[in-house]
Symmetry: none
């Protein structure tokens, strides 16, 4: 009865759900939630329509599952990146770089992730709203942690860390957007330097 043992059913379920989720991410990113059909997703996943409903109760649920899956994946990747460096400066720059790189690789996911924000207050039932809000703010909290550490080390001036963290996240998101829309042709490293420079000047002590 150990939880470590996967039954065959578990394996199949994992195989199917990850296949469906991957397909969903792609399709939703391409067409947006409404234009995407369950048939599209099923086809992309190589299963029949009914199979999708075997694992998810509704189209919406597939959507949120894909969203959460992506966020979690990105989050763990960012954490990993942060552990490679020790100074606040390094961490901040690393985080910026990691995010830009991740979304460059996962443009489809960005589309979902991003457009979600715009829909939060009205579209979602309250429960999902809060769940997504938490997921979203967790990202900003990574930045906030860096800011606080920097403040403790007197590298960063005193400022409202929570808001600042959100603002920094917004800049990053903005740059990612411009990159994905093709408005920015710079190399990742250039954009990273740019953001970091702007931000660091804005928050550094003195």
């Amino acid at each position: 009865m150990s939880t470590a043992i996967k039954t065959k059913k578990d394996v199949v379920t994992e195989f199917r759900t990850s296949g469906i989720l991957e397909a969903a991410r792609k399709v939703f990113a391409e067409k947006g939630f409404h234009e995407a059909t369950v048939d599209d997703i099923a086809e992309a996943a190589g299963v029949a329509k009914g199979t999708v409903y075997l694992y998810y109760e509704s189209k919406r649920e597939v959507y949120f599952a894909a969203l959460k899956f992506g966020i979690a994946q990105m989050y763990s990747l960012l954490l990993e990146e942060l552990n490679k460096v020790s100074t606040p400066e390094g961490k901040l720059k690393g985080l910026i770089a990691a995010k830009l790189a991740y979304f460059d690789e996962n443009r489809d996911f960005f589309k979902i992730y991003y457009s979600e924000l715009g829909n939060i207050p009205t579209t979602h039932p309250a429960g999902i709203d809060n769940e997504f809000k938490a997921l979203y703010q967790e990202q900003a909290r990574l930045v906030e942690t860096i800011l606080k550490e920097g403040a403790r080390k007197k590298l960063i001036r005193n400022l409202r860390t929570e808001q600042t963290a959100l603002a920094i996240s917004d800049i990053i998101r903005g740059v990612v957007t411009h990159r994905i829309l093709g408005w920015s042709k710079s190399k990742i490293s250039q954009d990273v330097d740019f953001i970091f420079d702007l931000v660091w000047k804005g928050i550094a002590a003195q």
Copy 2:
């Protein structure tokens, strides 16, 4: 047929279109593009469904018209605000304040304006894409102009003005978002000060 003289027809047309557009803004903001029905809009505008199609070819077109209408309105309001002050610092702060105030007043429009960005590349036919891109970047150009003037006056350090302008716009947009989602409970002036402080530190000379 002089452009200066409005025929009765023109008057009616303007009356209808502005009524429809106003209704559309409200409805789209409340429900999002897909959930909103043409009937909703017609009803909100107090006309019959067919009448909407007399002035717009499709639901999409109504949507973009409402979007453009709002952007133009906001733009002229921002311009007005900028002309009240003369220093780059004052202009920047004024712009930030004006945008926050505008969206606080027009939350419905923000919903449309904002969620649009996320959909640009795939949903729109190329033509509209570019049109919207231009509209959107025009906003950033207001900031850019301020930056350039500041640079000339040596108040602002040398940096890639276009990108910086976009970044500043992103911070503003982020704060507006948090305000609208209810994540920020600060007064407008506090948020303005916060943004301005952060940004100005980040871009000031020295």
Copy 3:
């Protein structure tokens, strides 16, 4: 604003609803509620599927409307028939004859009417249940009225009129069923005589 004046809209509505109801009766009778599709009904009515939904909110609602329409029509026909005769005997016999004749003419409706009873308690939301129950019992009440009059005139012995009325209705329904299923090949008048004879012996005074 007189209610006697039908607007054009009213005329169209009546035309459509009666067309749809007629089609619905036929289709539901042929296939039963579940096997019948809205498309079937629309096609039979010579309108598009969407048109059906213009006048009824759901397939269920079409069904109940058809049912009620038929019951009401039959009821008024029975009333008319009853007014032609004056004695309880004559009324009872007339009622039996009228019902048998009506269902002989409207076999399709009988199918709906009949199969409905079997579904009452579970399928219907409470409200409709009661509405249908009332409609159904109204039929039995016609018989009950006759019985009471007969009792007053000492033609009929004392018995629980409500139950007896229901029992008589059941006999009639049974014979109709057998006729419709083709189990009875008798002429209507023969079956009428048979029912009347059996019943009258059962209820007559002495």
Copy 4:
């Protein structure tokens, strides 16, 4: 391969089919044919969906099997009851009492049994139709036998026994219906007396 010896296979088959049939009766009665799913039945029977198809070719077949099973069971019970009394009067009253009691105990089955009649002519393939018709009429034949015996003993007047038997069955069925729908609150014995009284007066000699 003697018919007297049950192989292990037979035992299992009987065990499975009776389990499935019992479950089917319950589920079909609760939800009706269409609302009931094969999954519902399988779950109620404690087997997997596929197992149901091992013993029956289709959902319909399960349905008819459950119906036949119930009718046969009831029939043998009625026979038993009839053998306890000897006079036609006693037999008739006994039959009425037994049927009312049986359906009071087996309300679920009545739902199936009853609603079936309404669907016979169109829904069923001709074969099943006839099979069911035979089963159904077998019930009435029980009554007919009593009537004939009564006629021979001059207790009952001369009348078309087949039709009369059907009519009596209809009255019984009607009362059962009212009881099950909750329209009758009488005790069984009261309803038995009522039916018997009405019928006997209707059919007695003189």
